[in-house]
Assembly symmetry: C2
Amino acid sequence: MAKRNVTYQDIARYTGFSKTTISRFFNRPESVTPDHRKQIRDALDVLDYKSNKVARILANGQTEFIGLIVPNLYLGFYAELLNLFLNTYEKYGYKFIVFSGSSHEETERRYISELLSYKVEGLIVLSHTIPSIELASYGIPVVAVEREDRYISSVNTDNYSGAVQATELLYQCRCDICLHINSQDYDPQVPASARITGFTDVCERHGMDCRILPYTLGNSYDDLQTKVETIVEDIIASYPGKRKGIFCSNDTTAGIVLNHILRKYGHLPDEFKIIGFDGSPAARQAVVPISTVAQQTDKLVESAMELLVRQISEYATGASAREADSAGNTENAVNGGDSFSLKPEHRIIPPILMPRGTSRP
Amino acid sequence: MAKRNVTYQDIARYTGFSKTTISRFFNRPESVTPDHRKQIRDALDVLDYKSNKVARILANGQTEFIGLIVPNLYLGFYAELLNLFLNTYEKYGYKFIVFSGSSHEETERRYISELLSYKVEGLIVLSHTIPSIELASYGIPVVAVEREDRYISSVNTDNYSGAVQATELLYQCRCDICLHINSQDYDPQVPASARITGFTDVCERHGMDCRILPYTLGNSYDDLQTKVETIVEDIIASYPGKRKGIFCSNDTTAGIVLNHILRKYGHLPDEFKIIGFDGSPAARQAVVPISTVAQQTDKLVESAMELLVRQISEYATGASAREADSAGNTENAVNGGDSFSLKPEHRIIPPILMPRGTSRP
DNA sequence: TTGTAAGCGTTATCAA
DNA sequence: TTGATAACGCTTACAA
């Protein structure tokens, strides 16, 4: 690291104060006389002091880091969430160390252990790879967003209600059959899988024919496109003459469906009714604006940060309590059972139905 | 930080070795006998040791951090680049502290000083806010991607050649007039502004009528859409009966143009020829696949990382040299002129013209 | 209001 | 092959 860094020591020497005073100047300026403050400020200038948070972390344990794991960024939804998370810096001051998830458990585990070794104060997990029971075991605050969350706190869209609204809209469009295109990799724990139950419940209630069309999740847009277009062809071939309501698990998929149909017919025939999920800008901006169930991403992020920040501070006080607690009997320190375990809190954010051109009754 | 961390000290005590040996076990395992290695491995298990990179950083100065500043993530281009950067973790092991840029200089300056205080080893800058001369002054390796780069290393698409190819295509389409929609906020230093010169040069060469249509950059998709649609209306009103070649500075804009026209006419009239820039998936996936000049994002990122990593290592050796150098005359340490200054290296990546449905001759 | 001194958990430099 | 000991740069009791 180039030459030697200018440290408190240097400032102390230069000003004639002690390191402690310099430290106080930064952390509790009121506790230093105005006059001395000025002397120190000047010294800072002259010596061209640059703060070193690494040393600070080592001394007081506050990294101001949050680890964030997204599954990918080619889905607009995740890009948008990430953007919103990054912007919370202004409000909370946390810096984000970001990993773009792999679907290999082992790889993602390595990400996490990196994050832990950098002493991140909390984790935001959007990726689906590691089960929540394991995430809970790491002993630091974790908030999941739109993923399986049994053992950890989370913020989710009310997927069930979203699916219900979407399917009701298709019902009102007098569809003969309802199709739901979704990834097949969800286990029932994943919140988004409530979109499936919501869908089937409404279909049953109204006695509508319905079918789930699963695709396997790839890791590129192209991949998705190919798979979805095959599905659409299948739909077209299977239900000639019927009015088909197609509920897609996300707007990207809905866009692919819409465009494929437009390309084939030159317009959107009345026999197709489409609705997506997420509320991405792309949906509104499509040639025929795509109906969608909009997730309130801003609220998701806001709640997630609130939850995480609160847990971090509860964790901090809890930790010092435990610390004091175990001062006497260090022989128990090893097998401590001190893994972080506040009761997980789950927040639900309602989505907003946006009926648009692809599904007018 | 919960209880007390298990440290080398504890492992040393448990195994009967010294801290030094434990350290060596991690950093140069060969230098510890296999037998002792096993003992230590066991101790790690029993004590449930978790490594602490913060301490390591303080001791050896290697943070393995790269600071990354993107302008936003709602433009697919940036999201894609970010994703590719994050994925280089597998290859280089660098972790990324990410900031989503503000357009306020002061704010972004705060981001950077945060990054510096965390001792990031290098900076990747996609954001346009801070001029390169200032970035160069921070004294750490910086690589710019597609932004003004006079005083720092950079990787850029060959924008001029891209614009030339795009405009030539419009010429081959026998357009009567060529329009170029671009942000007006570029100063000539920004590499993307070469798209304008490329455009006008080709128009001149072929004696084609042409016009630049600037819009002011907002900070949301909606904003962009409104502005661009106004421009399209203006084009339609201004050049009736003429074949209009529209070269957009990015695919998002091209998509807005296309869709607005499709919505208005129900199809893409032959009098409109459209081509975008970037090569985003959305362009290919549009109803009428949009011609575009594809940036090779993978190569951009690969080159950027190569450059940065090389600079980091040159910087490290240079730094130790300077260190040794100034050992004698510490009185000069203060005003050192030691700001990092290898000659900036600029890499150019050729874009690839993808002629598609929106501009068939 | 200021100073002393003991950490924080590693790595680095010598010796042995 | 291993160990003592001094960094690294900041915070934090505890004293003064």
